[in-house]
Amino acid sequence: MSSPASRASEGARHPFDMETVISYILISGVILSLTLLVVGTLLYSLQHHNLTLAYSLPQDNLFQFGRMEITRVLRGTLTARDIINLGIIVLMLTPYVRVAFSAVAFAFIERNAKYTAFTLFVLSVLTYSLFLSF
């Protein structure tokens, strides 16, 4: 624990240190989302013989939109559109999951009350905004 690199990462002693998990959440969310978008777009263009995605998203908030797509996944009625929509949902949920995990990490790993409160504030505002509907 005396080399400069390890001093800079003192938190790394814990197996679930916050930075490492956050980093994995971010990169896996982005990769999963991009994969769904590419696969969905290719399927869509094969079926419709057109690269233009000629459909609209439901004018819903993310949670309603997500619930609808998950119901369709569970029913097994998955179309190219649904795969694309899931890509958008996964992308938007990536920072959200990162903040939710940070709240848990500040509370139980770092045991920092101040930052648990800050992170819960950010999480509440994001939850509110994801429930917005016009």
């Binding site: 991009l34 940070s102 930052y115 917005l132």
Partner: protein
């Protein structure tokens, strides 16, 4: 065919955005509106979703290497997300011309900022006011070039927070990361080392963009035919742009980018005042 052109345009915006460190959004919206004639609010909505992808992708590496400061990021996100929601509300309620005008002014302001190019301090700041100390705004990172750990402290947390609300507002309103603005606040107000300020800004941008994107989604402005090729193009483009970064001379990219900013800025302002 349009989808492929949007993909190509977004790719170019991503490459230039990454090479200049300004992010893809600032060129993407002008490209989409001026070249592709996409409705300005639809362009802003598509751009802000793509910002989530580019910032999360690069933030992942910076957080892993412990250069981004997660605490400073979390503290400032409290302000940027509120700003982003207000900014998105302004865009949703205002007419297209107002958005063109503000966007044009932000482009011209970025031009001026690049031109003046403020001198950034290199060594870690060690002075700190009481609020910043209470907020634990400090850390250390490993500098590969100097082969040493650089400790630093952030200061002026209060003013920094208020200004970050403004940066979030611009981001939510225009669908951009507003990274340059965030870095300026980190550097000049909070006195963070340049490496920490750029990477922490990157970390904040994803969450800020999500707050804005949620409003655009609820308003039905995220259109798959625009947003999907934009997300794919900008993400691939900025990955490629980061690679180019090392090969091209800094001053050449800067000059090129300044020309692009001024041309687009003038065009957007002219649109805004109804002269184009």
């Amino acid at each position: 065919m349009t989808a492929l052109v949007i993909l190509a345009v977004s790719l170019v915006a991503g490459v230039i955005g990454a090479m200049t460190g300004q992010g893809g959004g600032i060129l993407l919206v002008p490209f989409l509106t001026l070249i592709m004639h996409v409705d300005v609010k639809t362009a802003v909505a598509a751009s802000i979703v793509s910002v989530i992808a580019t910032s999360s992708g690069s933030a992942s590496a910076y957080v892993r290497d412990r250069i981004s400061n997660v605490k400073i990021g979390m503290y400032l996100e409290m302000f940027t997300i509120l700003g982003a929601l207000v900014g998105a509300a302004i865009t949703l309620k205002s007419g297209g011309r107002f958005i063109y005008l503000v966007f044009g002014l932000v482009l011209l302001a970025s031009f001026v900022a690049l031109w003046l190019k403020p001198e950034m301090g290199e060594a870690g700041n060690m002075r700190q006011d009481r609020l910043s100390a209470f907020l634990e705004l400090e850390g250390e990172y490993y500098d590969q070039v100097a082969n040493r750990v650089v400790p630093y402290k952030g200061t002026r947390a209060g003013l920094g927070g208020v200004l970050m609300f403004g940066a979030g507002l611009i981001a939510g309103m225009l669908g951009i990361g507003a990274g340059a603005l965030k870095v300026l606040i980190h550097d000049l107000v909070m006195e963070l080392p340049p490496k920490v300020s750029t990477t922490t800004s990157n970390f904040i941008i994803g969450v800020t963009a999500l707050a804005g994107a949620s409003a655009y989604l609820a308003a039905g402005l995220i259109k798959p035919n625009i947003a999907v090729p934009v997300i794919l193009g900008v993400t691939v483009g900025s990955r490629a742009g980061t690679r180019f970064l090392v090969r091209l001379s800094n001053s050449a990219t800067r000059k090129f980018f300044m020309v692009v900013l001024s041309v687009l800025g003038v065009e957007m302002v002219l649109r805004g005042v109804g002269l184009l």
